[in-house]
Amino acid sequence: MKIHIKNGRVIDPASGLDALQDIFVAASHIVGIGGMPANFHANQVIDASGLIVCPGLVDLSVRLREPGLEYMATLETEMHAASVGGVTSLACPPDTDPPLDEPGLVEMLKFRAKHMPGPRVYPVGALTKKLKGEGITEMAELTEAGCVAFSQADAPLIDTQVLLRAMEYAKTFDLPVWLRPQDPHLAREGVAHDGVVAARLGFPPIPVPAETVALSTILLLVRETGARVHLARLSSRAGIEMVRRAKHDGLPITCDVNIHHVHLSEMDTADFNANCHLIPPLRSQRDRDAIRLGLADGTIDVICSDHAPVDDDAKELPFQEAEPGATGVELLLPLTLKWAREAGLPLGKALSYITQHPARIMGIDAGRIGVDRPADLCLFDPEATWVVNRANLASLGKNSPFLGLEMQGRVQYTLIDGHLDYRRGNHQHV
């Protein structure tokens, strides 16, 4: 299959390319940018006039809900949703049922995903068995099975000695550990930021120290072990400041935020909207401003969707009883573009947070455009406006805080491994 993408504005954050250029794809790779290679005869020509052609998006946290949680969503639906969102590589956290703590489970997931249309799936292995925070997993075996990192997802790791041993063991093989900093005691029973809205509505609070105390422990253990740690889903100004200082000190850490935290704050929980019940909680407007500053100055490396499709039954409950999380993989691009517009950032820089940087953290050859590189591409219309509603979300989860709100920027084509995986218009794989 040879595809000629013509007249698109090609933006590649990694190389700084931003120009009207044609791209030529043959088999699974890009074979030319600009001039047509010799003897290239396209089977298909995509007219990308008015579109931006960027690297396929890379998302560090997409819950596919398999195995075991198919009542919320399925591999098939969520991989399709990711493709609709322009995502061509994704990492899926181990919080499935059972958790991804055995090589067989990971191999099965990889096998099933490989034989379906949609993005490349990179499982994140459980750091501890059953995510219980007690015994560490067979990290080396799990890596051979296809895991790109190890994490507890949102499960607590209460025993600090286990955390230290897990980091030491991971460092033995130089495997990355992804940790979401949250002290389980300080966060106990909490559902919302310990701020003005919780004071007003009486939500059981999760104070900022739940993040900073855990972060402090992790950073000290990174100093001790030298483990490669990626900090997931930072939410507070104080936490971001700690990461800024630790990076300045040369610690081998990276970090990400959930795109929802770039736009929303505790104020969005004030009408009890269960779709705004997230982990970690949406914090104050000052915290949100700090997240934006942290992105702009490079303290925060990545924006992810932290995609969490939840069935209606688990969301149509009072705020504090609802299952946390938001569906988001289809909104990662438009919400990143919205942030770029609001922050006055060049498009290339904004896109780097959802392409080049997450690919680097996952250690995969993705997130950039170049000759002889895999042809994973996202073609989007930066001007197209659309209103998020239940019907136009491909994910089985309809739990978005942005339902009813207008987005600008929409994916038109997604190319994965050199073939057209998604084309807007028929909502089907091609």
Binding site: D194, A199, P205, P318
Partner: protein, 319 residues
């Protein structure tokens, strides 16, 4: 804080009573004034303590959390308005069989309910129900989590107004476990809306929400400072389980520092009144000599509570 588009009709009338947060002063005053007219219905001298305003209406008391007192006062209020009342304690029945809150409500709606009085352990449960019921069904929140208890807040305002006159002259102290209290939150919203110039909260730091001053209150940790020269002391109930956690060391230490004793009450204005939403823990948050003393209006609160709940139901039903 957009409960009002749920609570009020397009032309500004009360559709549901979910929270006092953001409810306009005009509505609060309307309820208090209407309650005054219902006090005579409950008059001990009266032979028939009933008016036919809600005859033929079906009111469901749905309590997902145990309560005898509040449920009973709603039941009495509804019966004095001639409504048919059904009491349901859900925590013991269908919820344990896995039925969702909204399924329960849908089932009860199908039994031709006109009004639901709901108590639930989670904040915003009433809001959720109000979003899902048919337009003719009215919801009264009888307590949702730590969020709000609007009829209690209203009966407290009635009591204050009755004994102390207009709110714009008053200095009021709310004492105790503000953090876990839906009563305190409702009192604070009502007092600030009705123009009370100085609302104080008095409690140890472990029983106050962070950022509580954003609700428009002055924060005190010492009783001697917090109740000095106030016109009214609004005591809160201290749940026993607070003593088992790490928020308080003992009932004794709490009583010593925040229990309302005759000595401490002398710091308030000489004619200050003492209120408590009940049930009281004598010797923990309040001394019996104060609870039963001249300045206590605690039993009046109970009497006014019936009239206030009658007023709310009657206004919701369109009378």
């Amino acid at each position: 804080m957009s409960a009002n588009n749920l609570q009020l009709t397009d032309d500004g009338r009360l559709r549901h009573l979910l929270t006092l947060d953001g409810l306009p002063a005009r509505i609060l005053t309307q309820i208090l004034d209407t309650a005054a007219s219902f006090l005579t219905v409950s008059d001990a001298e009266r032979d028939v303590k009933k008016v036919p305003l809600l005859r033929g209406k079906a009111i469901f008391n749905i309590f997902f959390e145990n309560s005898t007192r509040t449920r009973t006062t709603f039941e009495i209020a509804a019966k004095r308005l001639s409504a048919d009342v059904v009491n349901l304690n859900i925590n013991a029945s269908s919820q344990s069989k896995g039925e969702t809150l909204l399924d329960t409500i849908a089932n009860l709606s199908a039994m031709q309910a006109d009004m639901f009085i709901v108590r639930h352990a989670a904040a915003g449960a009433g809001h959720l129900i109000a979003r899902h019921v048919a337009p003719h069904i009215h919801i009264i929140n009888a307590g949702d989590g730590r969020c709000s208890h609007p009829t209690q807040g209203l009966l407290d305002m009635y009591t204050l107004r009755h004994f102390k006159g207009p709110f714009h002259n008053l200095r009021v102290a709310i004492v105790g476990d503000v953090l876990h209290s839906r009563v305190a939150r409702s009192q604070i919203h009502a007092l600030t809306t009705l123009g009370c110039p100085e609302v104080r909260v008095v409690a140890p730091k472990t029983l106050l929400p962070r950022d509580v001053e954003n609700l428009g209150v002055h924060v005190f940790h010492k009783m001697a400072e917090g109740i000095k020269d106030v016109d009214a002391v609004l005591m809160l109930r201290l749940q026993n389980e607070r003593m088992r956690g790490s928020r308080l060391p003992s009932a004794g230490e709490y009583y010593k520092h925040w229990g309302l004793t005759p000595d401490k009450l002398k710091l308030a204005k000489p004619d200050a009144i003492v209120m408590h939403p009940g049930p009281m823990n004598r010797g923990v948050e309040i001394d019996s000599a104060v609870a039963d003393g001249m300045q206590s209006v605690i039993l009046s609160q109970v009497t006014f509570g019936i009239a206030v709940r009658m007023a709310v139901m009657s206004i919701l039903a369109g009378n």
